[in-house]
Every structure is written in C-alpha cells, then in structure tokens.
C-alpha cells in the first residue's frame, strides 16, 4: 500500500516541477531575447520596475491559487482591491498621521470581510463559486461607486510616507517586492508543509472524499476565501501607495489577470494540483511579457493574444499531465 502510494505522488511532484521549469524556461528565453535586442531591459531601473509591477499581481495570485486549488474561483478580487484601495486612500488622506501598518491592517480587514461573504455564500448557500464571486464582483464595485461617486483621491492628498512606501527599499529590495516575496513564500509553505494546506489540496482533488475523510471542509473553504480576500485587500493598499491616484474604478478587470497568472503558473483549474510558487512565477511571466513586448515595440494587440495562447497552453499541459498520471496509475495497478 505505502509503496504504491508514494510512487505516483513522486511522479506527480516530478511532473509539477517540470511544469514550473517550463515557466522558468519561458522567462529566461523571453528575457534573453528582449535583452539581446535592447540591453537596457536588464538595467537596474528596468528590473526594479518589473519586480514592482509584478508585486501586486503576485500577492493576489497567491490568494487566488489557494482558492483554485480547492476547486473554486474568486472573481471578486479586482473589486475587492478597488474597495480596499479606496477605503485606505480615503482614510490616509483624512488622517495623514496614521502609520503604514494601520493602512495595511485596514486593507487586510476590508478584504478579509469581503472574503467571509464569498466563503459563506459558497459554502452555506451551496452556490458555485463562479456565480457567487461574479455577483460580489459587481456588488463590491457598486459599493465603491456609490461611496466614491465621482471622487478621486489624488497623490497630493496622501501623506508622503504612504506614497514613498511603494518605492522605499530595504537592503536594495523595495518593500512592495519584499511583501510579495513574503506572501508568496508564506502561502506556498503553508500549502506544502502544513496539514491545512494538504487538506485544501485533498478538498480540490475530491470534495466528497475530503468530507468523508473527516476534513473540516467548511472551515477550510472559508479560510481559503478569507485568505484570497485579505490578500486582495493588501494588494489594494499596495496599489494605492504605488499609483497615488485612486478612484472607484481602481483594479477593474484585474481579476482576469490574476486568474491568468494562476493558470499559466500551473495551478489546475479543476483543483487539487499546482503550487503557489508557480502562481507567483505566472504573475512574473505575465508582467515580463507585458514589459518586453512594449520594449520590443510589438503591437499591444499581440500582447493579449500571447497571454491567451499561454493560458490555453497551460490548460493543455494540465490535461496532458492528467492523462499521463491516469495512464501510469493504470500501469501500476496492472503490475500489482
């Protein structure tokens, strides 16, 4: 029993590793090609820009990856980011003395509350996550609109320490990037090495089996949505600090980029497989594609087409992996 169980798992993790290797390979090729045609692409300023641009997307992708691993989806993250960004920006412009930590905590809280709503509706309302979060996507955006009206928070109304936070660096690494690394690393560790993480994978592989096995599905699912919401809220704070201009439309449409990053990063849309690191790499890849295409002076319409092709490629890879695992499992069975 143990022998047969470890072998496929080993194989599985090997394949997943290969999938992430693919992203890294794509990244290296892309960066290499772009740098060859324009060496400034590897200048300090340029690398810093790419990492800063990735940070917000990566934070959201980490939360989204967890939700997708449980065979759900959170489409409301763009609107949660908008709500959190506007809340925090308004708060900071009204109380310029508040420290950055408070801004971050408020952002996390706003996002977390949104996540609770999503989680409760999905779990206790027994409504598919796709529908629930599509609903809350509009709801949260609507709340932000009715609150903000035509207002806008501008950079000159925000306190200096809040704005410089986006660019300030510790040991040469900007705070924004550091936060993204900590978030992606922390969530990845949680999913890989902790019991709750493995339970989430189990829920995604087979929700019914997970329930029968005594996993606290409700608690875990709620936790996954709260995490995704809270990280989107955190991303809202980072967004406000980075862009300085926040109106009710902040982050519109971002949810699709986040889902794309997660899928390209090798997280299977049917749940149960993929890693948070992969999602983070997916976010980096999408950002590098965006930056390198502008540098290479390629028409931006291609950019969307390329991202789309990547998503389809990733899903094909998913399918391929699934087929191969199924085949290898059958083979193993016949041997035993």
């Amino acid at each position: 029993m143990t022998a047969t169980a470890t072998a496929p798992r080993h194989l599985l993790s090997g394949l997943v590793k290969v999938r992430e290797l693919g992203i890294i390979l794509a990244l290296v090729l892309l960066v290499g090609y772009t740098a060859a045609s324009n060496p400034r692409f590897l200048s300090g300023q340029s690398i810093r820009d790419i990492l800063l641009n990735t940070a917000i997307l990566a934070v959201m992708a980490a939360g989204q990856a967890v939700v997708v691993i449980t065979r759900n989806i959170d489409l409301s993250v763009g609107s949660v980011l908008g709500l959190s960004a506007f809340t925090v920006a308004t708060m900071m412009s009204d109380n310029p003395g508040l420290p950055m930590v408070v801004a971050i905590l408020v952002g996390l809280a706003v996002g977390g509350a949104a996540g609770v709503l999503n989680g409760v509706l999905v779990r206790y309302g027994r409504v598919p996550a796709l529908v629930v979060t599509l609903g809350t996507l509009y709801m949260f955006r609507g709340v932000t609109y009715s609150w903000a009206g035509g207002q806008q928070v501008n950079a000159d109304e925000l306190p200096r320490h809040f704005l410089t936070f986006a660019n300030d660096a510790v040991l040469g690494i900007p705070w924004l990037v550091l936060i993204a690394l900590v978030v992606v690393g922390g969530v990845a560790l949680l999913m890989r090495n902790y019991r709750v993480g493995r339970e989430l994978y189990a829920m995604g592989s087979s929700p019914q089996a997970a329930e029968l096995a005594g996993i606290k599905v409700a608690r875990n699912l709620l936790g996954a949505f709260i995490l995704s919401g809270a990280l989107a809220g955190l991303a809202g704070v980072l967004f406000a600090a980075r862009f300085g201009t926040v109106d009710a439309a902040a982050g519109t449409g971002l949810e699709l980029n986040v889902v794309a990053a997660v899928v390209v990063g090798g997280v299977a849309v049917f749940g149960g497989s993929g890693t948070v690191w992969g999602a983070g790499l997916g976010a980096l890849l999408l950002t590098v594609i965006g930056s390198s295409l502008t540098v290479l002076d390629i028409n931006q319409f291609w950019q969307q087409a390329i991202v789309g092709a990547l998503i389809i490629l990733a899903i094909c890879a998913d399918r391929l992996v699934a087929v191969r695992i199924a085949r290898s499992l059958r083979k193993k069975d016949s041997h035993v």
Binding site: R40, G150, N154, G244, A248, A250, G253, T294
Partner: protein, 357 residues
Amino acid sequence: MLRSHRRLLSAGAASLLVLGIAACGGTTKDSADNSGAAAQTGASADPNAKLKEGLKIAFLPKQLNNPYTDVEVGGGKVAAGELKGEYKLVGPNDASASSQVSYINTLIQQQQDVIGIAANDPNAVCPSLNQARQAGIKIVAFDSDASKDCRDVFINQATTQGIGESLVKMASELAGGSGEIAILSATPNATNQNAWIEVMKTELAKPENAKLKLVKTAYGNDDDQKSFQEAQGLLQSYPNLKVIVSPTTVGIAAASRYVSSSNYKGKVAITGLGLPNQMREYVKDGTVKKFALWNPADIGYLAAYAGAALASGQISGQQGEKFKAGKLGEYTVGAAGEIVLGPPTEFTAENIDQFNF
C-alpha cells in the same frame, strides 16, 4: 476624466463610469461638431444694446455635487455677480438622460431669463428647452451640447485644433525646440484622442517643428497600470526621449508618477492634458513643468455672459455676432451657434494652487 470603457465584463461599472465621464466635461462628444445646421433665426441682434441688469440666470449642470461641475457653475456665479444678476443653481443627483426635464419645467414657471444647461442627453431635453424658448428664455448650452435646434448658443470648451496645437507648443517648449517626443494616449480607438493626435502630427510636420521627432504613440488604455508600463516601455526603448505628451488625465498622471519615482526624473519631461488636483504633487516635485486643460470656471463664466448678451439682445446666436465676456474679452459666435472658449489654460508651479478641480 477622459476614460473610455474598458471591459465588457464591467458593464455595470461602465454605466456608472459614464456618469463620471458625463460629469467631467463630455469631451468625447462635441469637439468635432461640424454638421452645419443653420442657427435659430431669432430677432435681429443689436450689438450696441446695453447688458441688462437683474437678469435671472439659472444653471442646470449634468448633476450636482460633482467637483468638476461645481467649478464650472462657480464661474457662472461669479459672472452673474458681475452682471448684477440673480444666480440660481438647480440640478439632478444623477446624470441620466431624462433627469433634467422636470428642472427645466420648474425654471420656466419661475420665469428665468437665461438657462445655462450641460445636457445629459442632446435630445431628451429638447421639448422642454423649446417650451422655455417660446416663453422667451434664452438657452445657453455648455460643456455638453443640446441638439442644435433647441438652444441658442453652445459654449465649446476647446476645439480639436486648439488642443492639438497647444500640446505641440508645450512639447516644443519642454524639448527646447528639438529632440524626440512620444505620445501616451488612451485607447487606440478613442475618437477625441485620435483627432488630437492627428492635429499634432499636422503641426509637427510644419517647418518650425522640423527638429521635433515623434518616435512613437503608445496606448495606456486609460488604465493606471497599463499606462505605467507603457511609460516605462517608452523610456527604455527610446533613451534619447525628451518629452512624453499624454493627452489623457489617466495617462499623464501615471507617467508622471512613474517618472517622479524613477531615475528618469529631471531627464524626461511630461506634459499633456491633466487635472490640477491630480497633477499638483508632480508639478510641485518638479517632474512636470507644465500641462494644460480648459479651465472649467471659465466655461461657466462665459456661459453666463453669453446668456446675458442673448437676453439683452446683443446677440441672437447667428454666426459672426460679437459680444464681450468680462475678464475673458471679446467672443464671436461661430457656425451653428458655437462659441469656443479658447486655447486651454496652461498650469505651472506658479498658478496651480489657484485651481481646485
């Protein structure tokens, strides 16, 4: 906010966004208005008639409690004071097509002399406006035009030509007359943006601008993040770039924020069309030397004077008629009853604190 709709998915959001656009100056319409319907033939005008005092001038903006609108009608209030008239402000809370109709009817009953209106819909307000005109009330459309046959004159904030010219003028000044410039626009299919860019290209082709080279037009889709990335791309691809011209409020703010926090600061100038409140930060930290936009207060101010000139019989809305508008000087009524405010106002570190919108 020269935003354009971004995602079909956010149709709900977009419909609210339209509110925002509508409130912020309806710049996507009106600029290239060239159907030459004849202006309303009214009583013949007497250019020497004295401006009447005690005129009742009412303003009906697209919606109340919008910062941009507040500045516009604020200009109208100042003008009404100078004219010794009675200023009145009414308006709906939402900028929907039909919401202004009931206000117009009330204003007719109150026997106002002039109604200044920023139409939420060019046709929905028409029947009521024509009733008002039959009652002898003069109709001045501003900001966003009502249909030509139901208003006397329209105050156009700026012409396509005027904006394109002033963008090139600012770019040339900032580049010192020669060097590479790039445009950071909104979406590739935004009508007003493309019309301005066309004028800019024509201007750049003139001999006095021969040393200015437009190297690229990038599109930031009026999205902060995308505009940010496009600005980065421009600076990386064109190391000798001197000026980025962004004729969209989102683009200019994103490009300025990027440059102000990068090591390009001081090497590359940013200019274009922006809102003073949004740009104050970057003007003060030296990233942006100058940018432009029409002054919304002047729109309201000119609308009040045009209304007074109409009510006093100085003009009737026919092409070629002239009138004086206080501190703004003399204006001439153009084709189809349009009065153009003039070149956009330039904002610099010296004057930016006088504006709040």
